[in-house]
C-alpha cells in the first residue's frame, strides 16, 4: 500500500508536473499556437476525469488541445443496446445485474434502466460480475442477465465468470455481451477527417492486451501514440512523448506505463477472453457499426448468452438527431460546442450518454470546467 501511495504522491508532485508542462510547451512552441493547437485525443474515460479532477486541464498550455475519444464504455453503448437491456429488464422472469453507471443512460425514447426499475423491474447494481453469480444462486426463479459492458479491461473477468458459471452448473446466469475492442475504433478515427496529432492510449486496456495491437497506429497511419498511466505526471510524460514523436516525424507506441503494461499484456487474461468470446461486428454510439470491434459469446457457451437464451435481438431504434455525442466521441466537436450542452442536456437531464457517465467527456466538462 505505502509504495503505491509514494508513487502516487510523486506523480502528483506540482514541481515535477510544472517541469513537464514547460518541456511540453517548449517542444510545441515552433509549430503550434492557440489558434492552431496540437490536438491529442485520450481514449480512456479515466484519463478524461484525471485531466479535469487534478486541475491539469486548466494548466495545459494554450497551444495544446485535448479531445476526449470513445473511451468511456458507457458512452459508446449504443441506443439499440440500451433499448435491448430495458426490454429484458421489463420481462417478468429476469433479474438484471449491472454496473451502476449504466442505470441513468437514456435509451432512444428517454427511458433508462432507472425508469425500468421504478416500473417494478428487478435490477441490482453489482461491483463485479461475480456478484451477479451470487444473485443467480439466490434467485433461482429468475434468469439473471448481467450487462456485459466495457472494453478489453472488463471483458476477461466477465469471461472468467461465464467459465465459473459453467463449472458450477448455474443454469440461470446469462450475459448480455456488449463488450467492445478499442483498436478498431481508433482505426476508424485515423481514417476519418479529424486532424488528431496523437493518441493517449488507455493504460488499463493495454495492461490486458499489451501494446502490440496498437502498432498499426505508427505503421499504417504514421500516428504518434503513447500508453500512459493516470496520474498527472503520467499523462504529461505521455504528452511529451507524443509531441516529440510528432516533431521528430518518428511515430511510435511509447509505453510510459511500463510499471503496469508490457508489450505482450496479460496472456492469461487474453486466453480466458478468447476461450469464451470471439470477435464480432459491433455498434458504437456515434461510430455505428465497426467490423470486428466487439466480442460475442462463442457458440459453445450459448447457454450463457442472454441473446440466445432469452431470444432477443437488438431492436432497431429511431436516431436521436439532436444528440451530438457521436461528433464529440470522434473528436470533431468539443462538448461545449454542442448546441444542447448545459441547456437541454445536463447531468440531471442527460440527452446523450456522454453527459451520463461520470467518465463521459460532456459530464466532465460540465462538472469541472470553469
Amino acid at each position: 500500500m505505502s509504495i503505491h501511495r509514494d508513487i502516487s504522491a510523486l506523480l502528483n508532485n506540482p514541481a515535477l508536473c510544472s517541469a513537464l508542462l514547460r518541456r511540453l510547451e517548449a517542444s510545441l512552441k515552433r509549430e503550434f499556437s492557440a489558434t492552431n493547437p496540437f490536438r491529442f485525443m485520450e481514449v480512456c474515460g479515466t484519463h478524461t476525469v484525471s485531466l479535469f479532477r487534478s486541475g491539469l486541464a486548466s494548466l495545459l498550455p494554450p497551444n495544446i488541445m485535448h479531445l476526449s475519444g470513445p473511451g468511456c464504455p458507457v458512452c459508446v453503448t449504443h441506443d439499440r443496446e440500451i433499448a435491448c437491456a430495458i426490454e429484458l429488464a421489463l420481462r417478468p422472469d429476469t433479474l438484471i445485474a449491472t454496473f451502476g453507471d449504466l442505470m441513468r443512460v437514456p435509451g432512444p425514447d428517454g427511458r433508462s434502466l432507472k425508469w425500468a426499475k421504478a416500473q417494478g423491474a428487478r435490477i441490482e447494481i453489482v461491483y463485479s460480475p461475480q456478484d451477479a453469480l451470487a444473485l443467480a444462486r439466490a434467485a433461482s426463479d429468475r434468469t439473471v442477465v448481467f450487462l456485459g459492458v466495457g472494453f478489453e479491461t472488463t471483458a476477461p473477468t466477465v469471461a472468467a465468470t461465464i467459465l465459473a458459471a459453467q463449472k458450477a452448473n448455474l443454469s440461470n446466469f446469462t450475459v448480455l455481451c456488449l463488450h467492445k475492442r478499442v483498436p478498431p475504433a481508433l482505426e476508424v478515427l485515423c481514417s476519418s477527417e479529424n486532424r488528431i496529432h496523437g493518441f493517449l492510449l488507455p493504460g488499463h486496456v493495454c495492461a490486458v492486451t499489451g501494446t502490440a495491437p496498437y502498432r498499426f497506429l505508427p505503421e499504417k497511419y504514421r500516428m504518434p501514440s503513447a500508453v500512459a498511466g493516470f496520474e498527472p505526471a503520467d499523462i504529461l510524460e505521455g504528452l511529451v512523448s507524443l509531441a516529440s514523436q510528432h516533431a521528430d516525424k518518428a511515430p511510435d507506441v511509447y509505453n510510459q506505463y511500463s510499471r503496469v503494461v508490457s508489450t505482450a499484456g496479460n496472456p492469461r487474461a487474453m486466453d480466458v477472453l478468447y476461450t469464451v468470446f470471439e470477435e464480432t461486428d459491433a455498434v458504437w454510439r456515434g461510430l455505428e457499426t465497426i467490423p470486428s470491434s466487439g466480442f460475442a459469446i462463442r457458440p459453445e457457451f450459448a447457454e450463457f448468452d442472454s441473446i440466445k437464451r432469452l431470444d432477443i435481438r437488438l431492436p432497431e431504434v429511431k436516431k436521436n438527431v439532436q444528440c451530438r455525442c457521436g461528433e464529440v466521441l470522434k473528436g470533431r466537436m468539443k462538448p461545449t460546442e454542442c448546441p444542447l450542452f448545459g441547456k437541454r442536456c445536463t447531468p440531471s437531464n442527460p440527452v446523450g450518454p456522454c453527459m451520463v457517465s461520470t467518465e463521459g467527456s460532456c459530464a466532465a466538462y460540465h462538472a469541472y470546467k470553469l
Partner: protein, 346 residues
C-alpha cells in the same frame, strides 16, 4: 449480517403490536419507555407538554439505512444525531425530539431493543429528551425492517443566528474533521467489503460544539452539517444561497488515507460522501483561529481545518460556484452531486 444477528433474540414483532391494544401497550412500556423514558415522555398523554423559551428552531428528518447497524453506529443513533445536529446548526440548543417508528412485521425484538437503546444513549450524550413518539407495525415487505422519523426542537441562543445565506466576502471556511467516513462505512458494509480499522461512521451529536461556537463567537455566519451529498454539495448550496464564490484548497481538506484509498477502489469521491458528525463553519477571517481552537476542544473536532475562503465572483467565475484549487496548482469547479454516486465501470 452478522452484526445484526448478534442482537437478535428470535422473538419477533407481530402485527398485533401496532393495533393500539394491549400488545401495543406492552411493546411501548417494555421496549420504548424503559430505554427512552423521562418525566416528559412518561406522562403518555396525546401530546407532550414542553417548556421552551424564546425563538424556536425545529427540524424533521426520516431515516432509512441499509444495513441497520454499521461500523460506528446504527439507525437509532443516526436518527438522534441527524436531527439534533440540524437543530444545532441554527445556533439553537436542542431540547426535545419526537420519534415515529414504522416497523416491519416479523422484526426481531432484540434488534429493535438494541436500536432503541442506542437512541437512548445518543440522547443522553446530547442532553436532549424524547418528548413523544409513535409506533406503527406494517405487513412484511411494506418497509425494509424499520424507518424512523424524528423531529427536534430547540431554543435559539443568539440574536442573529447562523444561516446558509450569510456567507460573506472575506469569510473563511472551516471544517471540523475528516470527510467521507460515514458514507464509505455504509457503502462498504452494503457491498460486503472489508473496511480498514480506522474507517467508521463519524455519526455523533454536534450540539455541544455548535453551541460553544455561537456563544463564544457572535459573528459565526454559517453552520451546516455536510450530510447527504457530502462537503461538495453542501458548499454549493451555501454558495448559491449566499450569492458568493467559494475557493477551496484541495490540499487542506482533511480526508483519511484509508478513506481515499477505499474510495478509489469503489470509484467514489470522499467529498460527495455523507458525513454525520461534521460541521462546516463560515465566519470572518479574524475569528478563524479561535473557532478552530473551539472545534478542536471537542473529540469530534480534533482534526478541524481551514479549507477555503469566500469571495465575490470575478472574471469567468459565476456567483454560486465552488472552485477547487487543486494540489497540482490548477483550478476546477467542485460541482454539486448529481443523483446518487454510482460505482463506475473500470
Amino acid at each position: 449480517m452478522s452484526d445484526i444477528s448478534k442482537y437478535c433474540t428470535g422473538e419477533t414483532l407481530l402485527l398485533d403490536c401496532g393495533s393500539g391494544g394491549r400488545a401495543a401497550q406492552r411493546l411501548i412500556q417494555d421496549l420504548f419507555i424503559s430505554r427512552l423514558g423521562n418525566p416528559t415522555l412518561n406522562r403518555l398523554d396525546d401530546a407532550a407538554y414542553l417548556e421552551l423559551k424564546g425563538p424556536i428552531a425545529m427540524s424533521t428528518d426520516g431515516y432509512t439505512v441499509d444495513p441497520l447497524i454499521f461500523p460506528g453506529g446504527d439507525i437509532g443513533s443516526l436518527a438522534v444525531h441527524g436531527t439534533v445536529n440540524d437543530v444545532s446548526m441554527l445556533g439553537a440548543r436542542p431540547r426535545y425530539i419526537s420519534a415515529a417508528f414504522i416497523l416491519e412485521e416479523g422484526l426481531d425484538l432484540g434488534l429493535l431493543a438494541h436500536i432503541v437503546e442506542s437512541m437512548g444513549n445518543a440522547l443522553k450524550t446530547a442532553g436532549v429528551l424524547m418528548a413523544t413518539g409513535d409506533t406503527k407495525v406494517v405487513p412484511r415487505g411494506v418497509v425494509d425492517k424499520m424507518f424512523i422519523t424524528t423531529t427536534g426542537v430547540g431554543e435559539i441562543l443568539v440574536p442573529n443566528p447562523p444561516s446558509g445565506s450569510r456567507a460573506a466576502e472575506g469569510d473563511v471556511i472551516l471544517i471540523s474533521g475528516h470527510l467521507g467516513n460515514h458514507g464509505l462505512a455504509i457503502m462498504s458494509s452494503r457491498a460486503g467489503l472489508p473496511l480498514p480499522s480506522d474507517v467508521r461512521s463519524d455519526s455523533a451529536c454536534l450540539n455541544h460544539a455548535a453551541q460553544a461556537l455561537v456563544l463564544n463567537l457572535p459573528d459565526v455566519h454559517v453552520l451546516r452539517d455536510p450530510t447527504r451529498g457530502g462537503l461538495a454539495t453542501t458548499l454549493n448550496e451555501i454558495a448559491q444561497q449566499s450569492g458568493v464564490v467559494f475557493h477551496i484548497e484541495e490540499a487542506a481538506i482533511p480526508v483519511l488515507d484509508s478513506v481515499s484509498q477505499g474510495c478509489s477502489i469503489l470509484g467514489l469521491d470522499p467529498l460527495y460522501l455523507a458525513n454525520e458528525g461534521k460541521i462546516i463553519c463560515i465566519l470572518p477571517a479574524h475569528d478563524a483561529e479561535k473557532a478552530l481552537e473551539i472545534m478542536r476542544s471537542f473529540p469530534e473536532g480534533q482534526n478541524a481545518a481551514r479549507i477555503g475562503r469566500v469571495k465575490a465572483a470575478t472574471g469567468h467565475e459565476k456567483t454560486g460556484q465552488v472552485i477547487l484549487d487543486t494540489r497540482l496548482g490548477g483550478k476546477r469547479l467542485l460541482p454539486m452531486l448529481e443523483g446518487e454516486q454510482l460505482p463506475r465501470i473500470c
